[in-house]
């Protein structure tokens, strides 16, 4: 078994050395793209700050329940942590194009879909059972972000070149899963001319 281990590690080392050398000699421009852009670094730092202040707020609530902090100090510390967390979140929003960027993208997508979609055939309205209404409410609550109208992945979503996630908004600057920068797309151009060929 030790011989098999030796062989396995030799193979692993050879693979790792090849992957170590490849980016340095590769002609692929995307491999040379500067990942450590200031935006991504700030985004990570701000997310970390936000998470840290949220954790501190959680601990503060517990300490308050256990009377390990006076009411006055609790209010002051809570204000401090909340204001820092909100500041971090606002700065994060700014990095992604300002607040409300997602709803602007959704509106543009909805307009585009309406232009592309055929006239729907009108069906008689079915009366919904209470169970169906409850199920629909539950589904609506579970989804984090609901763009207007039905989404067809191939028309509104693109695939992230870094992690392979295939449900990234077409207009997103960063992948919503791994945070890698997405190839730049011209939003104004996309509302008038479908350009699915650019998605990859």
């Amino acid at each position: 078994m030790t011989l098999a281990l030796i062989a396995l590690f030799i193979a692993f080392t050879a693979y790792a050395i090849s992957r170590m050398i490849a980016p340095l000699v590769s002609q692929d421009d995307s491999a040379r793209a500067d990942l450590l852009s200031e935006d991504l670094r700030q985004s990570e730092e701000l997310s970390s700050l936000k998470a840290m202040h949220k954790a501190s707020l959680r601990d503060l609530e517990i300490d308050r329940e256990l009377e390990k902090v006076t009411e006055e100090d609790y209010r002051q510390l809570k204000r401090e942590h909340e204001s820092r967390a909100v500041k971090a979140m606002r700065e994060l929003d700014q990095l992604h194009g300002g607040r409300g960027w997602q709803s602007r993208v959704d509106a543009a997508l909805a307009t585009r879909r309406a232009e592309l979609a055929p006239e729907p055939i009108k069906k008689p309205k079915k009366k919904k059972t209470p169970e169906k209404v409850a199920a629909e409410k539950k589904t609506a609550k579970a989804s984090t972000h609901e763009p207007v109208g039905a989404l067809e992945p191939s028309s509104a979503m693109v695939t992230c070149p870094s992690c392979g996630f295939d449900r990234v908004d077409a207009e997103a600057s960063f992948c919503s899963r791994c945070g890698s920068p997405m190839p730049a797309l011209d939003v104004s151009r996309s509302t008038s001319t479908p350009s699915l060929s650019e998605v990859n």
């Binding site: 098999a4 050398i21 991504l40 390990k68 902090v69």
Partner: protein, 723 residues
């Protein structure tokens, strides 16, 4: 095969140097291709070191005595467990083990953080690979485990592992300690990355938090196993002797304990940033320093088998670590910012700062006590000996104060303590401690202690009483805290108390894992308090003679001998009775291993109960007259030290338990890992198939064929009889 091992070491050294340079470029200029290359350089270094480790393990398991290390530290009669243990039984092997732990934890850290801390990770990799390069340079040029014999006069049997090390605990003690020392590299690298990048938000603390607990965990286990081994094998009746090498593993444990507490203050209040960086640098420097004093011959110790000629290499590494660390610290001193002031001395922040000062003071005391004899000898030429009485004189009162702080720190509020808070938080635990503590001491004394016939000194009695009182205080504060929180949660979520406690432990692992660790420490303190009533006697008896120790009557009955495959044991049967009633028979002895007949080892026999241990060691015997000399101890509450260690391990594991987010990070990026693993497996299968076949044909078991022959021809069972 030794050439494969040597080549792997040199390749690993080369990869580390190149990788550190690539990581420097990646950190400095942040280019994607260098970031990717630096990540894989860490994996490549891990691979190369693993090749070397596998080659050494293969050589040990196949008894390749052409390699000096294998011949010196193993023999053909050793069972598999001890063959594996001989990997770290010698100096070169233990250094290779250390290096492989650094390599594997670096690779693990890189993998876990492959999508986060983008500005830190290149510097973390650079630091880790630089440390690995230092260790590999020592391996390649100072202590190569793959050195072969020049002349074809290979010893065919091997010298075997030091008999003192052939116990299960001693097999596990070095890798635990070495893992503790090695894994300290990762949080140190994060601290240095914070200094280099100038990022003094709490990012480095958040990233390094769990990596700080890991070395502390291994150092705790390693120190405990060392204490167990000393207690069971060395025959002096104790588990901690303030031996210089024990102290060398204790300094970093004390410093890391301080750091684990003070980073909480930085996380919650943004204070102590400079202090935490300094603590982290000190913890890592002390691991190198401890190794240097152990392996350089600078200090005399029962661990003298660990000494070697590579002390100077470690001195160079130590100087490099200190110079680089201090330079970066001085560079960023101002940027580390103005510290927030304490709001009140009666606050949790103050308690934690005081706790830190206590632990640092204890470190300085132990460091002074360890090094002063050598410093005085070097400066003044005069010899001085600093032994357990000196250490205990300082460490006992400091330790008791620390126990009190443990209780205070659990309940004292943040920022300031009002009168109302003091009343609600402190009053009940204080009253409980003042009532229950002395009552427990009195109950033990009148129930059992007085019967031992020992009168402790007033100072020992005071210390023992204070220890128990503060232990009750610490336990009461924790229980009260948990109870209050469980009641509040139970009311809010309509849960039973037990369900509420489970949910709390699940959602606040660090807090409640810490409480469990504190409980373990409290149990250890009970063991320390028991030392006030410890009895020791040296006696020489003929068969049939008895002695009285405490309220035990021990009668030496007979001497006998047992022959096992690898050793001969001489045993003395000693019966123990109390109040005229026979309790049990102890059988202390001495063993002589076949491979090392001139090095007998003690086989202590101990009867352990939660109240006390009855400990008998056979010091010497006369085969002709059957006279035997014994060392006998009655040691109250020793069992609580091992209980405390077990509780501490459980609590630490709870702290380390990964959250759901952390488990998600471990999931590999879709496609990449599968492709990599697939490629490696195919390559490994193709290259190892013929070798696997050869191995299978050559060996039918994981031990030598010769031992199998011996086993088959050895029909006689273990013999008993008079020597």
């Amino acid at each position: 095969m030794p050439n494969v091992g040597t080549f792997a070491l040199y390749a690993a050294l080369y990869i580390c140097i190149i990788g550190a340079a690539i990581s420097f470029v990646a950190g400095r200029w942040g280019q994607q291709r260098f970031v990717l290359a630096s990540r894989f350089s860490a994996y490549a270094a891990f691979g190369a070191v693993s090749v070397a480790s596998s080659v050494l393990m293969h050589a040990l398991l196949t008894h390749d005595f052409s390699i000096q290390y294998v011949a010196k530290f193993s023999d053909k009669t050793m069972p598999l467990f001890y063959l594996i243990g001989s990997f770290w039984g010698g100096q070169a092997g233990s250094l290779l083990f250390w290096t492989s732990v650094v390599a594997s934890t670096t690779a693990a850290c890189v993998y876990v953080n492959r999508r986060s801390y983008q500005d830190f990770m290149p510097w973390v990799i650079a630091i880790c690979l630089s440390v690995m390069a230092g260790l590999l340079a020592i391996l390649c040029f100072g202590s190569n485990p793959f050195e072969t014999y020049q002349v074809i006069a290979d010893p065919t049997k091997g010298q075997g592992l030091n008999p003192l090390l052939q116990t299960p605990k001693m097999v596990m003690h070095p890798p635990s300690l070495l893992s503790g020392l090695a894994t300290m590299t990762i949080p140190y690298a994060f601290a240095m990355a914070a200094l280099i990048t100038g990022n003094f938000s709490n990012a480095w603390v958040k990233a390094a938090r769990k990596w700080i607990i890991i070395p502390w965990f291994f150092l705790s286990i390693g120190n405990m196993l060392g204490g167990m081994w000393a207690y069971e094998e060395l025959g002096w009746g104790g588990y901690w002797a303030w031996d210089p090498v024990e102290n060398a593993a204790f300094f970093p444990w004390l410093m890391t304990s301080a750091l684990i507490h003070s980073i909480m203050i930085q996380e919650r209040r943004g204070m102590l940033r400079r202090w935490n960086i300094a603590l982290m640098i000190s913890s890592f420097a002390l691991t190198i320093f401890g190794t240097y004093i152990t392996r350089s011959g600078l200090i005399q110790s029962v661990h003298s088998f660990a000494q070697s000629e590579i002390g100077d290499y470690f001195l160079v590494l130590l100087i490099a670590v200190i110079v680089v660390s201090l330079a970066c610290f001085a560079w960023r001193w101002k940027d580390l910012g103005v510290q927030k002031r304490l709001d009140s001395p009666a606050s949790r922040e103050a308690a934690f700062i005081f706790n830190n000062w206590m632990l640092v003071t204890m470190t300085v005391v132990v460091l002074f006590g360890t090094m002063w004899p050598k410093i005085k000898e070097g400066l003044f030429g005069s010899e001085v000996s600093i032994g357990p009485p000196w250490f205990n004189r300082w460490m006992v009162p400091l330790g008791i104060l620390l126990l009190l702080l443990m209780g205070i720190g659990t309940i004292i509020p943040w920022r300031r303590t009002t009168k109302a808070a003091f009343k609600s938080q402190f009053l009940k635990p204080t009253l409980a401690a003042l009532a229950i503590g002395p009552a427990l001491v009195a109950t033990y004394w009148y129930g059992r202690g007085a019967a031992l016939g020992v009168t402790p000194t007033p100072l020992d009695a005071t210390y023992a009483t204070l220890t128990v009182t503060f232990a009750v205080f610490a336990v009461t504060t924790m229980v009260a805290d948990v109870w209050r929180a469980a009641r509040a949660r139970g009311a809010a979520h309509d849960e039973s108390i037990s369900m509420a406690i489970m949910q709390m432990a699940s959602k606040q692992k660090r807090r409640y894992g810490g409480y469990i660790v504190h409980l373990g420490i409290v149990a250890a303190y009970i063991a320390f308090a028991g030392n006030a009533l410890k009895i020791e006697q040296d006696v020489s008896l003929m068969p049939g003679e008895s002695i009285t120790i405490g309220d035990y009557t021990l009668t030496y009955e007979r001497l006998r001998q047992e022959t096992q495959r690898d050793k001969v044991i001489t045993l003395a049967d000693v019966s123990a009775a109390r109040g005229g009633q026979r309790l049990y028979t102890l059988a202390p002895g001495q063993a002589r291993f076949n491979a090392r007949r001139n090095m007998p080892t003690s086989e202590i026999d101990i009867k352990t109960t939660p109240l006390e241990d009855l400990y008998v060691a056979l010091v010497s015997f006369d085969r002709t007259t059957k006279a035997a000399a014994f060392k006998v101890f009655v040691a109250p509450f020793t069992w609580w030290f091992w209980l405390g260690g077990t509780i501490l391990i459980f609590g630490t594991l709870l702290c380390l338990w990964p959250s759901r987010d952390e488990l998600d990070v471990l999931r590999p990026t879709p496609g990449v890992f599968a492709r990599a693993a697939g490629g490696v497996l195919v390559l490994a299968a193709l290259s190892s198939a013929p070798l696997a076949l050869y191995t299978y044909e050559s060996h039918s078991e994981w031990s030598s064929a010769e031992r199998l022959l011996l086993a088959q021809s050895d029909d006689a069972p273990d013999t008993r009889g008079a020597p």
